[in-house]
């Protein structure tokens, strides 16, 4: 760790350090509190929350009905709420319809149930093409949707975010809610993956 070998900082590294140090000096921010917050969003709030919601909906028809009628309220029942999830609508995949989410303008995403969005969700290729060629995008993710199945694209906004309720796979009739939740991936709740039966 000799100081003779100090690494050159990149331009964004310098700028964020400068902003942070000025705000700390002015007594406006507490770096430790911010570290804790980032840790929460990076490790504690994530797709495992959404997976529990999906598993509950698959196991409890009354819950599923509440979830499709008022997503935010039903998700709140499981204790998941907060920033970027105030108004959340759940869209159901069925044998007739496949749903897929995007935010063409930026990066709107249901944080309380899925955590922070993946890098590709926020990047130009996905944002531009999900609305004009959703079937092509799905193929890129390895999902073939039959010609006679409708594909619905939901473009999220600052006010209203979406989450996909994937189709429950066959052969899972005897599984517990926890077991079901373990099958549900982040991508399946964005609509770019299907949920596979247990191997």
């Amino acid at each position: 760790m000799g100081s003779a070998h100090k690494r050159q900082l990149s331009d964004p590294e310098i700028r964020v350090k400068a902003l942070e140090s000025l705000l700390v000096e002015k007594g406006l921010i507490d770096p430790k509190a911010l570290d804790d917050l980032v840790d929460t969003y990076e490790t504690k709030i994530g797709p495992h929350n959404g997976a529990q919601v999906v598993a509950r909906a698959w196991s409890d028809p009354a819950y599923k009905q509440r979830l499709l009628e008022d997503g935010s309220a039903a998700i709140g029942e499981l204790g998941f709420s907060g920033m970027q999830g105030e108004d959340l609508m759940v869209v159901e995949n069925t044998p007739e319809v496949h749903n897929i989410l995007v935010c063409t303008l930026c990066s709107c995403y249901p944080w309380p149930t899925l955590g922070l969005p993946p890098v590709w969700y926020k990047a130009a290729p996905y944002r531009s093409r999900a609305v004009s060629d959703p079937r092509g995008v799905l193929q890129e993710f390895g999902v073939e949707v039959p010609e006679d199945k409708e594909v619905r694209v939901w473009d999220s906004t600052a006010e209203l975010r979406y989450m996909v309720l994937p189709e429950r796979p066959n052969g899972t009739e005897d599984m517990t809610e926890d077991g079901l939740a373990s099958l549900v991936s982040r991508d399946s709740m964005i609509g770019v993956a299907l949920v596979n039966p247990p191997a």
């Binding site: 990149s10 964004p12 964020v16 350090k17 902003l19 993946p118 996905y126 609305v131 004009s132 890129e140």
Partner: protein, 103 residues
């Protein structure tokens, strides 16, 4: 308002970078940029709509060239300097000091 951020339907951005192992933050500085939003939010320097608007007002070529958290960094600079939370001079000085120390 229409703008470069309105990417829906545009052509030519190439394949989607699908990597299931992709971390949420690719560099530690991205983590710091994300954190600053929560540091600034309680002080009312800007709200979420102003923040988004600051990103949407970016120069089109710059918007396309820069990564997601560089958009955020641009918005902080615009808004914090714009509303006087920090001055352009002290910010420029601090950036130069940090670059100097590291180099």
């Amino acid at each position: 308002m229409n703008g470069i951020h309105d990417l829906g339907g545009m052509h030519g951005f190439g394949p989607i970078d699908i990597d299931p192992e992709q971390p949420l933050f690719r560099n530690d500085w991205e983590r710091r940029v994300f954190a600053l939003f929560f540091g600034c939010a309680p002080h009312g320097f800007f709200n979420l709509d102003e923040f988004r608007h600051a990103v949407e007002r970016m120069d089109a070529a710059e918007y396309l060239e820069l990564s997601y958290y560089e958009h955020w960094l641009h918005a902080y600079e615009t808004l914090l300097v714009g509303n006087g939370a920090i001055t352009a001079e002290e910010y420029a000085t601090r950036c130069a000091e940090i670059a100097q120390e590291a180099g």
